[in-house]
Symmetry: C2
Subunit: 420 residues, 2 copies
């Protein structure tokens, strides 16, 4: 079928004809459809059997342009292929932590996948001060499994290059390169920001030291093909409830620096922490939830580091430094030291990429709902100025970071005494 965007009518006809759907729907007599895409790039339909509410799927179809910018940022529809490839890899490496893929249609640039009926976008739950007792465990497992098992620490050299070759993804990579690492920090028509922090925004744009550091991180982002990264792993790409966590929307996936994904998770949690200056008026309640968010950050890093190391020891088949390489007197200790050094370096890079991402969210094309949903612009400005200060420090101080306590410490220092 030649590509055409589906609508709420044609999507039902499409679903009915799809062989795989016979296993999901017991009949197609009372179907209903909602288009719920709040992203920028795609149509997202929820297709339900109204007779049996537990029968439903999500159909996601790529649009040939970037929604927020109209026709000015034309995109190829290939990205749905990248999303599907990545989701299938996640289904394999981190089962239960991403939606299941049921069908993929290359020509129509669409994927049909599990409907996460009982989940909400994590951003919204965090603003509502919800607790997620399994999130630390789930997201650290997702990060370790998706990153470690697609890296040179697990794959052979040729296996890794052939997998990497499937994720060229040159169009969406350019979007992130431009919109995370370049355009926010210079004059570019799509940028927008709170006018109350204009001085801070202009300060970033004319800070030579900061801008050199941003380019250093951009170079790593553009050239360091370490593992299959999600490349957009903010809390809007996580569907969650009290017991379950699913990573969605990996259309930006490519082989990049592992720390980019880790940094995205931690940095978005800090933005949520900051957003409670606007969302949670009661000081005690606010401080309790902010402490919880910091505990999540500490827990995620510590569990990530612990599982990453344990997974490496238990699955040491990659060719970066194979077991035989460490077979010399003291070699076991050297391998341990190398792993520690590797993971420590990951934390420093996490600070760097996470730091840049604080900045882009305050002054680029896509801001973040936790913050923009604060009604009072003055309170919003308090959170935004703090985000810029914290981002700047994560980035510029990254080489001195020795543990997650340093990153959390910067958040504590910058926010101490603000809006008490």
């Amino acid at each position: 079928m030649a590509y055409h965007p589906l609508n709420e009518t044609s999507v039902v006809a499409y679903i009915k004809k799809l062989p795989a759907m016979a296993e999901i729907f017991s009949d197609f007599d009372h179907m209903s459809v909602d288009e719920v895409g709040d992203g920028n790039l795609n149509l997202v339909f929820i297709v339900r059997n109204d007779g049996r509410p537990q029968e439903s799927v999500v159909l996601k179809q790529a649009l040939p342009y970037l929604r927020v910018a109209g026709d000015s940022w034309p995109l190829t529809r290939e990205r749905m292929r990248y999303e599907t490839l990545a989701l299938r890899k996640y289904n394999e490496l981190a089962p239960g932590l991403a939606p299941m893929v049921f069908a993929y249609d290359e020509e129509m640039s669409l994927v049909v996948m599990e409907h996460l009926r009982d989940h909400e976008i994590m951003r919204r739950g965090l603003v509502a001060r919800k607790h997620y007792p399994h999130f630390v465990d789930h997201i650290s497992t997702f990060l370790v499994n998706s990153l470690f098992f697609t890296s040179d620490l697990y794959l052979t050299g040729p296996e890794k290059k052939l997998l990497q070759a499937q994720f060229v993804n040159e169009q969406l990579r350019k979007l992130q390169e431009d919109f995370v690492y370049t355009n926010p920090y210079m004059e570019s028509p799509e940028n927008h920001w709170n006018p109350l922090i204009d001085d801070a925004v202009q300060g970033v744009r004319s800070d030579a030291q900061l801008k050199m550091a941003i380019v250093e991180m951009k170079q790593a982002y553009m050239t360091h093909g370490e593992a299959l990264i999600h490349a957009d792993l903010h809390t809007g790409s996580i569907m969650i409830n009290a017991g379950d966590t699913r990573v969605i929307d990996p259309e930006f996936a490519f082989f990049g620096p592992m720390a980019y994904d880790v940094g995205a998770v931690l940095q978005n949690l800090v933005l949520n922490f900051l957003s409670h200056y606007g969302h949670t008026a009661d000081r005690g309640e606010r401080e309790r939830y902010q402490a919880y968010v910091l505990d999540l950050i500490t827990g995620i890093w510590n569990e990530f580091a612990r599982k990453f190391d344990a997974t490496w020891v238990a699955n040491h088949r990659g060719e970066l430094a194979p077991p035989a390489y460490w077979q010399f007197p003291g070699g076991g200790d050297a391998f341990t030291a190398f792993r520690q050094q590797y993971i420590h370096h990951l934390l420093q890079e996490t600070a760097g990429h996470g730091g840049v991402k604080f900045l882009r969210r305050m002054m680029g094309i896509v801001n973040v709902w936790d913050i923009t949903s604060i009604g009072e612009m003055e309170k919003r400005a308090v959170a935004e100025r703090l985000a810029i200060r914290i981002g700047r420090r994560w980035l510029l101080e990254r080489h001195a970071i020795s543990g997650i306590g340093d990153l959390v410490g910067i958040v504590r220092e910058e926010t101490a005494g603000v809006m008490v």
Copy 2:
């Protein structure tokens, strides 16, 4: 034509049928053929018109296995495609500094190219103490043009990813990963070394600090896709005479760290410097030529750095940090500082990759002719021990390297007073 290895008879028939050859040969009545492959992977035929000696071509055909190891290292024949792709890129970016490609046959895994009749392998000329007044200029231009113009400093994001996607080259990359960064430093049956330096070889293999540093460089080699690198740019991959320089054999080409190519050139010149302990008995003559080799090294780096920076300023169209990004008060100085920092980091990485390559040549699968052609094993051992000491220091001291003088200084310090 289905793949079959050509021989000295069948190659003439093949050449006669090739349309492009009508422009090279005025007739095919008195053809002669020599197979001259001294490499490990390929057949190399020189095909001549004996009636007109200026009419000749080289036909290079991939073998499906690694020659030195018999059938034990099977290889795909794809590498001839990579060599041809890279040579054509060099023909475009650095015309006159690589052989011209006349024809390529995918099925037969062969390329027909310019015969460099008046050139010799540079290694041999250097052992014979020849001078090459244009080499500094030629090789620095080759390095700058092949690296800069295939990097994010010149190409747009998508242009670079699509070019990079042509050079997956997973088989030959694995060879270099294993044979440069891993196998020489552990027990592996293909390793060989001068028995007189066994203590030094075993010392490398059990030096925890050194082995961790080697893995750091291997990680950069495996993951840092900065530019199209030749990946085997030693002085055996350079054909030269007094006026002309050609880079050959880019079958290992892929998108890797720029410093690997720069390091290969500089490190092979140092190995030649060391080899004169065995080749040049007269002390005055030896020291004069060794001083000349050090001048080449200094000149190559300085010209590389100068041209790289000037080329960047003059061709600032890449998306890493575009001109508009630096448009703020002081932005011009920041751009200059960023370029200096980038090039300085390239020198440190040059020391790291070059350092590793010293070590692998002393104890791995492929040693280096400059050294192995020394008849007296004791003299050879002197050169080899120095190579290991210098390589170790280039690698371990790389973060402290501030200029090419530091790298040359290590060579001077380690060789001072030896064999005077």
